[in-house]
Symmetry: D2
Subunit: 390 residues, 4 copies
């Protein structure tokens, strides 16, 4: 269990780009990073409006001189300090992720970036090459992956408790954007503007979340081809979609399905993943993250609860409060940030064994998310036809 | 509420073809037909084994002389009786439905037939023509449609409580056939034999059920094109599928999705339908048929309960026991059989107004089920490509 | 599984007292009794209004001459017939149960009576003595007890799967009578009139239902003392209660709790029972009767489903439709009526071995329900103090 | 929404007594207090073992010189510092709460104490007098009360959405101590030792939690008399109970029920509260804290979700992440700590208006918890008889 001690020897000096006053995701990054003493917020370029960003930084306790007008200034200034930052989190609109991540890596920073990491696989691979050269960690915040029962699923599948994997059902299908709410809400507006959001809306914004959960649970599975049908039910969003169905064929003969939707009226969140094997299935829903069902054909359904002794040690390692008491999304993010910090520390000291033990949404996950959206869009734009995954 | 009185003036003399000793579905037909005095079981050709069928008929109270060796003999003999049967239910393997239905109609019988009505749209249309000529009712037992909250959904959608319809999510995805259970179980064996089962397994056997629910709820919606991807995870079932994904485009711009599956390990039944409009969604699950959720975007989710005064009169008309007390699938079937009897009586007396008021899974539903499977198979066999619906 | 054959050799000629046109419970009795050919409805005194009762009887298919004006006339007339009734079901207001049951037994009829069997333990014991003398079966329709998972619970407890029994939590707490609905609804009015309803409202009317479930599941447990606190939240109901808490001490050191309530606003039904042992608990809810939870301390919760092969044979014997397809309250009642018929047939042929194998809510259950209410009322009227159970 | 800014002007220098290495509750206190910059951990007497406490404090970032051997030393030393602590949280076994709280108040510290505040009402009132004299805030960590939907319930009841309150059903009934786990687990051992735990186990340890929720939701309701029946199913725990039923009569004619249990085998947590009014009921369960049901009699059940715009502003004020994304118990605790900090700041600046606006579990809640247990034990020890609440 986590009790606040010793997760890494020394807190990593850390900054944010974006994540200012109006940004709820910024608060989530900070809550996660600062939760267990693994990062220390010492600098930031929190806002596109420099003054507002400065004010905000001071308000949350950052020294005024380290509240920078923009990320370039910050990377340059911090590089000159003995106590300069060693890691940066990027919580800006999608269209800026690539440039900022690249600049951060070039400045020798470890990077944690909101997804999508960038817009094209080519860009993503360029970042990977740079991260390798610079020997830096890149994290991508697929935050739901930090929920502990995802680890449990991964271990159960690895232990062959499901049998041969046949079908992966995924969905992230909320209803909050059933109308053109972006007209009145700037926090939503950029998500449906191709310049800022990239080539897709719901595929990239939400569909990649359960997709990443499937990558954690099923690391061997490779997509061979897919087809994607997408719609813009709120007409003004075209060409970006607010609904998409994606069917995938994996290389082992299994099939997958992802429903990405922002117009599922009345649904709160609707992120679910069900993995179906020849013997049994598991299912997990992010609105009830403390429970996972395990269904062996011909046996009573079982409900596994977070924090219970019957779970795999990897699913228990991140527990903070014991079974029965619910943990929420903040704990999931905190778990990821702990792993980011541990990976950064391991990377800095060249500890490859420790790095090999850690798994977290990193540069490969970032690339895969971009690649999947690219393939989906390619299929959808070709009339929802099958495309080889590339 | 139904209390046993007056559903139709005189019980209709009725027979079964199939539905004998080993047939659980036969019991369901009889429970439904005889429940409220709308049919009277007076004859039968209950079994392919004539002696066994005879013994069974006698055991359940049919006069020995009216327990026939086969359906042809029965139709001929009953035609000569003053008190002969006027309706017949067919609960035999799929491959025999067409021939028996045709013979029954030619013999002037009203028909209730297990789905699928036949294997090709051409056959189905032939039966429709014959039924029209003979002025007979044909019912197809999509039994789940008799659940009362399906009526509620239909009325709410008609009253525009959901707004413009955008997405219809359907599934019937159980896990009972995750292994080759048909090897040991004759009741399953014919379902995966193309000669007996027709061109598909799960598409026709279970996928058509939620499809029909969507037809009841959304009578205006027409499929324009679809694509279907199907798999045989238990290899011995090929070319018949045990899993299929079907995506549909409707003529109003809405889209639909049907997941048909018999290898969803651990799932009990898994029949669900969710209709998503621009304002709200409804969702119904056949394992909890006494509840339906109604989700207006931006409002608390509501749970509608069968038998409550706030429901539409059409959803209350079939209630037998009041809210709180669960009804099950037998009541749903009974509701259908009551409508079949009422339709037959109305047809016999030439009461077109009464017929227009009644809706039930009839010949059009039978045709549509066959057509949908045909289109799905055509798509799947062409490499899961889009096909125009025809 | 039940398929309509052979449940008893010959259907028992049967009548009803009460259960006429306005009586939904009458419909439930008939649906249950006639479902599987175990009874044959041949006579009745269906209504306090003789003409209305006659009309109703004819409408549901009873010969006009056997639609009697009152129960006395019926018992006398039927006794003279070769094909006279051999069993009668009583579905009249509570205050008449004793007199009619007594008259029926004296007339040599088997009896099925709505609960409560009568108002005092003394009366109940008089009926038992009479039934013994006359060698007749008395059934009391605690209808929920026919749900199959109640059998499963009984067998699991008998097999010591729960360990030593410690706590039994029971409730039947609906909200339909949160206001004085009886002012407008005659079907409710008599329930809160002490002359017709007896010494209690919710204790007797609904609290005895989960109490009987506990008797089925835990046949060894004996109440040693209890205390009961009751309230009349709708003032006009006093002295009859619309809410009651009852705490019980059993002879083995276990404790029990029954919440009986008709003012639980918004609750549909709310009948639940949870049995807690030293190792595990089971819980069952009558609104989801096809599922039962089994919770072993330190293990994942399990959900047992009706109709599945892992259940005890006694829980499977009454299955009609297989797992996944929901059964409802009608099937539960049918199961009881099957057992009643089997017990009557066994009694008639003097088959004590068969009788010993059958369990159903009979005269002992009837007595126990009356006794429990008597003790609860005695405690409540003494200021909610403890009273020895007698 | 909370985004990390401005909750109070300056973080309050803060220490802990107890809450060291083996203490999960200590971690929860720190997570909550430090979450949003309202407290700053600068000192501590973390452990009864001084060296271990010192090591732990250093490990979590406290200056070595401010890691004290015991609380007395700490209060004395900190009083001499310019930057000394102004508030302390107490997370030690129950038997020490009174003495430490008293010492803290005498030293001029604001206090946050684990419940129970002490063992007798007399002690609790002494602390209240001292807190008044010293003008200090006392908080008691009924942490579940920080869940946002508790505020929603309070506001809905205040707005008369439930009608006249009739019944309050409460329970906290887990199964983790179904066996004598305390034999092997020191963290449990003191809970069943009267010297350390006080006069009760489950009544005080868990029953007071839903009791406090009822105080928040129903501030007007006053208990008039109660009766309590308690048992020690694990014999070695006697005289302390591991199960208790408490029935309460309130001064307005309403009744309440609390089930406190640690032997509810298989149950994870089981904390629930249901408030039943003449028109409607609300129900909340701490294992699904992001949902609350609202049931108006005669209408469909509604599910209210945390973070949605239809909630009362007070229920939204503490939101950190928006609807759909689950918050957990850590956020609830954080909300309480924010209110504690705001109350302390308001108290320090003599801002009575601000204090009047804040509600949180304070000294009155602490007194009431102790009083309730006292009355329950008095009743139970007198043979589970009714006692006037005093």
């Amino acid at each position: 269990m986590i009790n606040g001690e010793n997760l890494i020897p020394v807190a990593i000096p850390w900054a944010m780009v974006g994540g200012g006053r109006q940004s709820q995701i910024g608060y989530i990054h900070r809550s996660a990073a600062l939760r267990d003493g693994v990062f220390k917020l010492v600098a930031g370029a929190f806002d596109i409006d420099a003054q507002r960003g400065h004010d905000f930084g001071v308000a949350i306790g950052v020294n005024a001189e380290r509240c920078y007008a923009d990320y370039k200034t910050m990377f340059a200034a911090e590089a000159l300090r003995q106590d300069g930052i060693r890691a940066v989190s990027i919580a800006t609109p999608n269209g800026t992720h690539f440039a900022i991540s690249k600049a951060a890596l070039e400045a020798g920073q470890h990077v944690v970036c909101e997804k999508p990491l960038c817009f094209t696989t080519a860009e993503a691979e360029e970042l990977r090459a740079l991260a390798t050269t610079k020997n830096k960690v890149v994290g991508v915040t697929y935050g739901y992956a930090g929920h502990q029962l995802i680890e449990q699923a991964r271990e159960m599948i690895a232990a062959d408790e499901l049998g041969e994997i046949r079908i992966v059902q995924m969905q992230f299908a909320h209803g909050f954007h059933n109308e053109a709410v972006e007209a009145a809400n700037p926090a939503t507006k950029w998500r449906v503007d191709p310049k800022m959001a990239g080539p897709s809306y719901v595929l990239g914004d939400i569909g990649t979340h359960p997709l990443y959960l499937s990558e954690v649970m099923l690391p061997q599975l490779k997509i061979q081809r897919l087809m994607c049908s997408r719609q813009s039910f709120v007409k003004s969003r075209a060409p970006l979609e607010d609904n998409a169905f994606t069917i995938m064929e994996y290389d082992n003969g299994a099939v997958g399905y992802v429903w990405s939707c922002a117009v599922n009226a009345g649904s709160m969140h609707g992120q679910k993943i069900r993995v179906i094997g020849s013997k049994a299935s598991i299912e997990w829903w992010d609105e009830r993250p403390n429970q996972m069902t395990f269904e062996v054909q011909g046996k009573p359904l079982q409900v596994l609860e977070r924090g219970m002794g019957y779970l795999h040690p990897r699913a228990l390692a991140d527990d903070r409060i014991g079974g029965g008491h619910p943990e929420g999304l903040f704990e999931a993010w905190s778990n990821l940030y702990v792993r980011y910090a541990q990976a950064m520390a391991a990377s800095d000291r060249g500890d490859k064994a420790a790095l090999a033990e850690l798994h977290y949404p990193g540069i490969e996950a970032g690339i895969e998310g971009v690649r999947w959206v690219e393939n989906c869009v390619r299929s959808a734009d070709a009339g929802a036809t099958w495309v080889d995954y590339r």
